[in-house]
């Protein structure tokens, strides 16, 4: 490079830029381009094939007057809130328990983590079976003498989302536990000593000292958990196929089915757009603040 003046802006860091081309292409062409494409076609009356016959907001009007969409949103909210709370609480508690210098830590950790290796299809299938009232849990417990025992979430519209959360947690908390455990191990040993010297009870140390220090872990975990929640689809399909009725419908399923089953792409794209926009509005500014911001982290 010439020593006489600054090199051109474009050629600064040129290797890094070249190496980032796949990322830039993915971000711009797939995620941004795909989103724009979806948004544009959501204003059309595309049926089986996309076509640019604009119909204004008609798809959105229909979307928001469809009970199934409303149910889907509510279900996602229920699932999201429940699985966020429970996976964080359970994941953290398990991690805290494993962090007590116990024996067989590896064994326990493997047991908690293995469901994560299975696909949602498998998880859904097994839990559908365990929760089946005719030969699953309810059947067994009734057989043990509690004749009136009723636990039949998958065929009860009011309880079905809880059944799905149960299976979702079974599969997902292991990873959360792992992340939390890693976070706990990253805490300086001196913090524990200091807390003990000052006579702060263990639970308080966790709550007011350790957890605030684990913020980066919580951020990463939140990204992973939330990304999983928005995408919720396979588990529902495998466990209930959206039933009973439409009681366990979720937005991703609505999108998929309107695009391919109802052959109403426009409607599917409108639903996609609502999902994408709500995600974009929350995620992009947050991601920029969290990961952009100041200097190299």
């Amino acid at each position: 490079m010439s020593a006489d003046g600054p090199p051109g802006r474009l050629f600064k860091n040129i290797s890094a830029k070249i190496a980032s081309i796949p990322m830039i292409l993915t971000a711009v062409v797939v995620f941004l381009g795909g989103t724009l494409w979806t948004v544009i076609y959501s204003f059309t009356d595309s049926k089986l094939l996309p076509r640019l016959n604009f119909v204004g907001l008609a798809q959105y009007e229909r979307l928001w007057s469809t009970p199934r969409w409303i149910v889907s949103i509510e279900n996602l909210a229920i699932y999201g809130i429940l699985s966020l709370i429970f996976s964080f609480v359970i994941g953290f508690l398990l991690a805290a328990l494993l962090d007590q210098q116990i024996r067989f830590e590896n064994t326990f950790r493997t047991i908690f983590l293995y469901p994560f290796a299975l696909s949602f299809i498998v998880t859904g299938l097994v839990w559908q079976w365990i929760l089946n009232p005719d030969f699953g849990l309810q059947h067994i417990i009734r057989g043990l003498g509690w004749e009136n025992f009723t636990f039949n979430p998958l065929y009860d519209a009011r309880l079905v989302m809880f059944g799905i959360v149960l299976a979702g947690l079974w599969q997902g908390t292991g990873l959360i536990m792992c992340l939390m455990l890693a976070g706990l191990r990253g805490i300086d040993e001196d913090i524990w000593k200091a807390a003990r010297v000052e006579g702060i009870p263990t639970w308080k140390t966790y709550l007011f000292i350790v957890i605030p220090m684990m913020r980066p872990v919580f951020v990463t975990t939140l990204v992973i958990v939330m990304a999983g929640i928005v995408k919720l689809y396979d588990l529902v399909v495998a466990m209930t196929a959206g039933g009973p009725g439409t009681a366990s419908e979720v937005p991703a399923k609505y999108v998929y089915e309107f695009m391919f089953r109802a052959q109403n792409l426009g409607q599917g794209f409108a639903a996609s757009t609502m999902m994408l926009l709500s995600v974009a509005v929350v995620v992009i500014p947050w991601a920029y603040l969290e990961f952009g911001g100041k200097r190299r982290g």
């Binding site: 049926k47 089986l48 094939l49 469809t66 009970p67 199934r68 089946n132 009232p133 005719d134 039949n152 998958l154 065929y155 519209a157 209930t240 196929a241 959206g242 039933g243 009973p244 009725g245 439409t246 009681a247 998929y256 089915e257 309107f258 695009m259 391919f260 089953r261 109802a262 052959q263 109403n264 409607q267």
Partner: protein
Amino acid sequence: MKRRALAAMLTGSVALPWAASAADLEVTHWWTSGGEAAAVAEFAKAFDATGNHWVDGAIAGSGETARSIMVSRITGGDPMGATQFNHGRQAEELVAAGLMRDLDAVAEAQDWKSVINPPSLLESCMLDGHLYCIPVNIHSWQWLWLSNQAFADAGVPVPANWEEFVAAAPALQKAGKIPLAVGQQGWQMTGIFNDLLLGLGGKDLYLKVYDEKDAEVAGGADVAKVFKALDDARTLSKGSNVQSWNEATAMVISGKAGGQVMGDWAQGEFQVAGKVAGTDYTCLPGLGEARYITTGGDSFYFPALDDPEKSKAQEVLAEVILSPETQVAFNLKKGSLPVRGDVDLAAANDCMKKGLAILKEGNVLKSTDELISPDTTTQLNDLMSEFFAESMTAEDAQKRFAGLIESAD
């Protein structure tokens, strides 16, 4: 030509002109249950006998899963050799976009116009005067399948129509049976509704609602009766904790459930299980009420391909599928009716013969697949599954149904 093709199949000879160009043809379909798989094997066998090779692209689950994959592949520029669709309006746009090839030449040569019965089947494959698909079978929805054993256990005679069935339900329940087996999927419930609509309301009402899309009628007193009956069906289906239709059928086969409202494809399951119509189970077309059936069914579409050898093989496949021998073999296994009026179905069982008789009488109507768009169908399925799962009143359901018909396309 037809004779020669027939001869080729019977002898397994490959020395015929069109057999000279052998090609692998991938055929996608969603026929994966026991009876279905046995039936589709007949197609494959016949096609392989022409020297070509049937590459099986079965996708299990339901038609919906499979259809999304098929549409993706066709629009993605990686089409299969042939694919199943329900005939009707599902593939309309693919044809319009020029992604499907026409079969005019084969149709001409084979004189399908005069052999396909009812002719309406072929019509629904036409667009702008060209033929784009071939119907492979006639499926009718309007059947009530009853387990003779369940009724014997309950100590009541096997009912002969819907009213009797409803009346017999308490006895079944007392005997620990579930009166009506229903899989928890919207399309199965919509099927029950449509059957009740045609069975209890009759042909005119059915057409007023679905063909003319008369919202007033849909909200009127006649349809209200149908919804009342649907309410009964809902009550009778309590405790039916299965998802797919064949699991529900299995409940009837084993005598756990009294009956199931399902299309004639359920027949295949009874057959695979070794049950005999009349002695082990009873079938009531039109639910034992009005003797009409709708002629839905499956058809095959042929995506436009660049490879001339494969294009040729497509024509061979179309021809083979519609040949009388394949038709007989296939439909016997599948439990559906052949699309040709000129084949002999002596081997058919009781139930199929009942269907054939109705077909002969000409009491056939277009299926909802042909009358309303998949979009409307999906909304209808949602409504019905909500109705079955929740405590929605019949009145509310009807109100939404009327609204749906009003905006239907």
